[in-house]
């Protein structure tokens, strides 16, 4: 097979993540689109196609939400596609944009992810009831906190992990977010404060849960020849992977996310990575709940099964540690406008790998990072590997 066409990220932008934005969903999408275009000094005329990502239509209260958001995302009289894998969308959309360009059909693409959860009144948690099976689950009135409490419990019981160890994720990420200008919930906290916060569904405490947010994020992708003209610091997409597990989540052992492992190896194989722990300098795993960051680091092969909490306690995942994890502040700190949160992680890798992350910058000139998102019924893993060198 001939070598794959090289694709780079050449621009990134995002809105502030907030609890209740005054902008319409369309305006949020446009603010991120414009910020990304401006960062690359490009105009919409130079963009070949638009890839949009956004999670349930129910949040924004719109049917065919992708169509509504199309012009806000720059998809006017242009090829436009809205892709979708629940919470995994924000990182998956980059894979989608990657193959739009890698296929040779387009030379440039803008990937825009948006979510406005505050339209859902009084709280978007109610909309989540409709993600469950109509017959076997909805009648039980489940919500996300309950099922994640189940998963966290299983993870803790299997490997003998304590809630103190998990609370450290909240402390680290919310602290990291203090350096992020778009962050909603940056804070200086202690483990004790996290564990003293209200119990939402045991063992999940309020400060271990990401907020509901409004926001949008966007990146611009370009084929090699164009990327080199647009910027002297392109960040290359080295690998993409995604994997969807069975609908029947109740039949899975929740202690370990196999689908994340499969998605990760798909991306690593493409990037030529054999030993992820040694070859990756920064990780941005999906952290909607504190334990998920640890769970996902194990799925990403960046920690042995059940060992991520120990590495965290040892400071390995701190911003100046051996493997900085979620230097952005993540969903716990920056906020969680579902699809936009995943793309925020891609933006973070772009800024970190270019050395433009300001006070969040990890030391040591990182060369390669991995971003991951997750979603559906604890079911889908999406992974993108980015680096300063093309593969």
């Amino acid at each position: 097979m001939t070598r794959m066409r090289r694709v780079a990220v050449v621009g990134a932008g995002m809105t502030k993540f907030v609890r209740r934005a005054l902008e319409t969903p369309k305006e949020l999408a446009w603010l991120a689109t414009k910020a990304a275009l401006d960062s690359a000094a490009m105009t919409l005329d130079q963009i070949g196609c638009v890839v949009h990502g956004t999670a349930p239509d129910a949040f924004d209260g719109l049917h065919m939400k992708g169509e509504y958001l199309s012009d806000g995302s720059g998809g006017w009289k242009k090829p436009y596609l809205r892709c979708y894998v629940g919470g995994g969308t924000g990182v998956y959309a980059i894979a989608q944009g990657w193959f739009h360009v890698a296929s040779g059909l387009f030379d440039t693409a803008i990937v825009v992810c948006e979510e406005k959860m505050s339209s859902c009144q009084p709280h978007p948690q109610a909309a989540f009831l409709t993600i469950f099976d109509n017959f076997t689950e909805q009648a039980l009135k489940p919500n996300l906190l309950w099922i994640f409490a189940l998963e966290q419990n299983r993870y803790m019981a299997t490997y003998g992990i304590t809630n103190e160890e998990i609370a450290r994720v909240s402390v680290k990420n919310k602290r990291n977010a203090l350096g992020h200008p778009a962050a909603q919930l940056g804070a200086e906290l202690t483990v004790k404060e996290v564990l003293n916060s209200e119990i939402m569904a045991w063992p999940v405490h309020r400060l271990m849960v990401s907020p509901t947010s409004d926001g949008a994020a966007a990146v611009i992708l370009a084929a090699e020849d164009i990327a080199k003209k647009v910027t002297d610091k392109p960040v290359w997409i080295q690998g993409v992977g995604w994997c969807l597990d069975t609908t029947y989540w109740t039949n899975r052992d929740l202690c370990y996310p196999e689908y994340v492992e499969k998605a990760a190896w798909m991306a690593y194989k493409m990037a030529g990575i054999r030993e992820p722990r040694k070859e990756i300098n920064i990780a941005e795993p999906y952290d909607p709940f504190a334990y998920k960051e640890l769970h996902h680091l194990e799925g990403l092969q960046l920690a042995p099964k059940g060992q991520a909490p120990k590495l965290l306690a040892d400071g390995v995942f701190d911003r100046d540690g051996d493997l900085p994890v979620t230097p952005s502040g993540g969903l716990l700190g920056v906020g969680n406008p579902i699809a936009a949160a995943g793309t925020m992680k891609i933006c973070e890798l772009f800024w970190q790998l270019r050395g433009e992350a300001g006070q969040r910058q990890v030391p040591g000139k990182p060369e390669r990072g991995v971003a991951q998102a997750w979603g559906d019924l604890m079911q889908v893993g999406t992974v993108v590997v980015m680096g300063t060198k093309p593969v």
Binding site: E67, W76, P79, Y80, C83, L244
Partner: protein
């Protein structure tokens, strides 16, 4: 288009007004079994899966959760597009051409009969700030657009009536069609208005159904038992979703999609180089508007005269919607484009039975996502 991509297998369940006996998962399973058998592959040979669906039509949020098991896609790369099945084909073609995978499955279905309040749901697709408070049905937009289209092109309502009669009659020969009926243009004039000037008979009625396709790279076609049909070009585009700023006469989304697909396929004279068109006809006038956008009629008024003269009938010089289209086959939500592709594949393989046209070597399918959208796609297929 290099490297080349082919459709290896098609599986479709017949569209029907209602399907109380099967769930959407069972329909998907049936269509997938047929597609994999047609392609001569096992489900575990497929490397990536694409489904096309909208949450609110399915009655579930994050609908992609419910897609993998019945297609054999567990723990495989799989994602959903909230767009027509033809967008799904474009997606699959891009995945294969990028070199990432060699075999991709595309699925789309309609379980419209499950939707208890379709008009209420459609209302949520209308702009919430400027348009929804006016309290009109989104279908009225089609009436307004038909008026603008007739006024600008000089096409008459009678000429549009020929489209409805042709497509419903064509469907009599298509076992996948839900609403076949022997219809003459005079019947159209007797039908009452739905949204002026669109008559009931000119508005495609909803149906349930499911289509699954298997696409593969050129390497993948070697040694298979299937009869490949080549994808020569794919195109997709949106015009403005905002009703105040879109083009009401020209279907810009179809024109831009077609231009993209023609460029890939190297087609300069579509009216001569393409032998069969299966285009969106959710409302009868849309067939004419889309044919104009595809570049078949430099003077748009000719589209109406062609319909009235029978030039777009199966035995005419430019056959359009031999399958019966959506007017005869039923409006099947995101699956609409894939039913058109199923027809093209049957025709290009010479398996269309009583509908079989002679000398069909290149054919085109075009889709539109219905009101209030301006989202469309084009796929060009060839037997060579």
């Amino acid at each position: 288009m290099e490297p080349r991509v082919a459709i290896l297998g098609v599986g479709a369940v017949p569209a029907q007004p209602a399907t109380p006996g099967v769930s959407y998962k069972e329909m998907m399973f049936q269509a997938a079994q047929r597609a994999y058998a047609d392609a001569g592959i096992e489900f575990n040979e497929v490397e990536s899966f694409v489904t096309c669906a909208e949450d609110l039509n399915e009655g579930l949020s994050i609908f992609d959760e419910y897609t993998p098991d019945q297609l054999g896609a567990v723990q495989k790369p799989m994602h959903t597009l909230t767009q027509d099945g033809l967008h799904g084909i474009a997606d699959a073609v891009m995945q294969i051409r990028s070199g990432l995978v060699e075999t991709v499955v595309v699925e789309a279905h309609s379980k419209y009969s499950n939707i208890l309040t379709p008009d209420w749901i459609l209302d949520y697709a209308v702009d919430p700030l400027w348009n929804r408070p006016l309290g009109f049905s989104a279908h009225a937009l089609a009436g307004l657009e038909m008026n603008a289209f007739l006024h600008d092109t000089g096409i008459t309502a009678d000429e549009v009536g020929h489209v409805a009669a042709k497509n419903r009659t064509n469907a009599l020969r298509n076992p996948l069609a839900a609403y076949p009926s022997r219809t003459v243009p005079e019947d159209v004039g007797r039908s009452s208005y739905a949204f002026y000037p669109i008559r009931e008979i000119e508005w495609a009625r909803p149906a349930d159904g499911c289509v699954v396709l298997v696409l593969g790279s050129e390497d993948r076609t070697r040694g298979t038992r299937s009869q490949p049909v080549w994808v020569r070009g794919v195109g997709f585009a949106n015009d403005s979703p905002t009703v105040e700023s879109r083009d009401w006469v020209r279907a810009e989304y179809a024109r831009i999609s077609a231009r993209m697909a023609y460029r890939q396929a190297g087609i300069r004279q579509p009216e001569r180089e393409i032998h069969l068109f299966e285009v969106d006809d959710t409302y009868a006038y849309k067939e004419l508007q889309h044919l104009v956008a595809l570049g078949l009629y430099p003077r748009p008024g000719e589209a109406g005269r062609a319909a009235a003269s029978g030039a777009t009938k199966p035995n005419g010089e430019t056959p359009v919607n031999v399958s019966g289209g959506s007017l005869g086959g039923g409006m099947t939500l995101e699956a609409a484009g894939l039913y058109r592709v199923a027809e093209l594949v049957a025709q290009l393989r010479g398996q269309a039975g009583p509908r079989q046209l002679s000398r069909v070597k290149t054919a085109l399918a075009q889709s539109w996502r219905g009101v209030p959208t301006t989202s469309g796609a084009v796929v060009i297929l060839s037997s060579e």
